[in-house]
């Protein structure tokens, strides 16, 4: 098991390298001059070409691309992700400030998608062909096709403006986490429900379930002790991917709900072509995503004794 974990950690490195390369490359290819954008952002006033050139020099934009990448990479390895050109603050600090908000949103979404999806999938499998089964399928299609901002706005209108139960904006306090978490969670719960359902169906037909019945184990206990743990294994394995879905979903959700998160920060940074901020933040998010998947893989190995004691 230890070797397994070590191997997975080592695998993270080429992934992160590739991500950093891609982000770096994409931002350089997209149109827009960061120095110009920074100076011209204010309305009114003109910039002299000298000022522009001086800024470009200061931002290191005149160095060859390879040098720029190398600077970024070596800095990243020592924890120095550079300085945001727009905010003139260390990227690492800015990312860490907002990290909590994004992570708690992604986790809330993940938790809700599991809390809603797992029981739904289970019941759909046990009452196959019934109305819960049909409902679950419809629910998962809805979730897959509904845009995040649409559901978010509906929830705001009903629960924030309509009933005043939760705030429509802001990132402080648990109350501000509910609606955005539910938005993300409901949309992704469908996937979990579908997976749980098919996994559960498979488990229900397994020989060891028949053995359990033959042993005289009551149905409830049979399900809980013998069935669910097996059925959850496939679901657990995609939790890592689900977390990635959540992270991606936070970009829009943070905007709709005016939360101070990394996703929103990256979007504005892209529009301002704030290279260091974009690179550093995306790299950070990648690390989080890869780590989450690693944790999931460890959890999966732990859950399934065939892997834990495999060798």
């Amino acid at each position: 098991m230890g070797r397994y974990i070590l191997g997975r950690i080592l695998q993270m490195i080429p992934v992160l390298l590739l991500v950093s390369l891609i982000v770096f490359g994409i931002m350089r290819v997209l149109p827009g001059d960061p120095a110009l954008l920074m100076l011209q952002g204010a309305e009114g006033g003109v910039t002299t070409p000298e000022r522009l050139e001086a800024l470009r020099e200061r931002m290191g934009l005149n160095d060859p691309v390879v040098v720029q990448y190398w600077t970024f990479l070596t800095g990243a390895l020592t924890g120095d992700l550079g300085e945001s050109v727009r905010f003139r603050e260390p990227v690492l600090d800015m990312v860490l400030d907002r990290l909590g908000s994004t992570i708690e949103l992604a986790l809330a979404g993940l938790v809700i998608s599991v809390l809603v999806g797992v029981p739904l999938g289970m019941i759909a499998a046990m009452r196959r062909g019934g109305w819960i089964d049909a409902f679950t399928m419809t629910f998962s299609y809805l979730g897959a096709s509904m845009p995040v901002f649409f559901l978010g706005l509906i929830l705001i209108y009903v629960f924030a403006f309509g009933m005043g139960l939760f705030p429509s904006a802001g990132g402080t306090g648990w109350r501000s986490l509910v609606l955005p978490g539910v938005t993300l969670g409901l949309i992704n719960a469908g996937l979990i429900a579908r997976l749980m359902r098919s996994s559960m169906l498979e488990v229900l037909g397994e020989d060891y379930m028949r053995t359990g019945r033959a042993k005289g184990v009551p149905p409830g206990l049979l399900l809980r002790r013998h069935g669910i743990k097996n059925a959850l294994i496939p679901v657990v394995t995609i939790l890592g991917l689900q977390f990635g879905n959540m992270l991606a979903g936070t970009v829009v959700t943070e905007t709709v709900f005016s939360r101070p998160g990394i996703g929103r920060m990256i979007v504005t940074a892209i529009l301002a072509k704030d290279y260091p901020l974009i690179q550093g933040a995306v790299l950070f998010l990648s690390i989080i995503y890869v780590t989450a998947n690693l944790l999931v893989d460890i959890a999966y190995a732990w859950l399934d004794p065939r892997i834990r004691y495999g060798d």
């Binding site: 397994e206 020989d207 060891y208 028949r210 053995t211 359990g212 019945r213 033959a214 042993k215 005289g216 184990v217 009551p218 206990l221 002790r225 013998h226 743990k229 097996n230 294994i233 859950l303 399934d304 004794p305 065939r306 004691y309």
Partner: protein, 327 residues
Amino acid sequence: MSALLSIRDLEVTFATEAGPLPAVQGVSLDVAPGETLAIVGESGSGKSVTMLSLLGLLPAGAARARQVVFDGQDITALDEARLRGLRGREIGIVFQDPMTSLNPVLTVGRQLTEMFELHQGLSRGAARAAAVETLSLVGMPSPKERMATYPHQLSGGMRQRAMIAIAVACRPKLLIADEPTTALDVTIQAQILDLIARIQEELGMGVIMISHDLGVVAGVADRIAVMYAGRIVEIGPIDAVFDAPRMPYTSGLLASVPRYDLDADMPRSIPGTPPDPLARPSGCAFRPRCAEARAACAASPPPALRPAGPPPHEAACILVGEERERT
């Protein structure tokens, strides 16, 4: 002595997309306490289904029997809860493939202690002690250490021992072994069969041994029932059936077993294949493959077996009737 288990006219029909599938058509048999009854037949003969229906392990409504008496009680009328009380406690089952029949994410110990907790209300500690004892009963080496292992960590033979341990944990009166050695190596097979025989004697259980392999049952069974196409076609003491089979199917089966001790040619197989359960031939189902088939065999079904009384050796074949007429 009254029978431990007495089945009369059991029928099992499955509802399939292609229509109703009669898997078992009118099976009747008895098992005495302490006796080993072997049920043999090819795949699809309905032998496993018969046993599963006994315990109510088939989908509801599939099985119908005029009467099933177990340990003096008619269990056809029992509701699910009562039936569950029988399972594991009074009747134990050992399934064919212990790798898939044991839960991969629970330890052997857990799957065993569960029996004691459920049926005897033992506490965790007491259950563990009883479990260890049962494991040594089934000849599991280092039973204490084995408690914490997972099924996939054991060899095939060990797994089956674990399965048997679970089945006999609560000292049931009847043990059903459904192809218990089919998934095992030949050398292990003998060990397991010995084990079952030993436990049976120690606990005084009745055993129903289901197999498609005559060689397996030869050494352990007292009586044998041969099934074909959902019916019992011959039943009787094992020596009698082996020495003087009364149904051509049985003779065919016996002839197809490779025997080293007889000076014989290659074993002869029975030509043809068992019929599709959805489209069984009229009259006797074996007729298309029978060397002794008569015109009458197609016209009407073979005579029904008399469930009890002399002679104890019965066969559902027109030949028996003829023989009876001759004597």
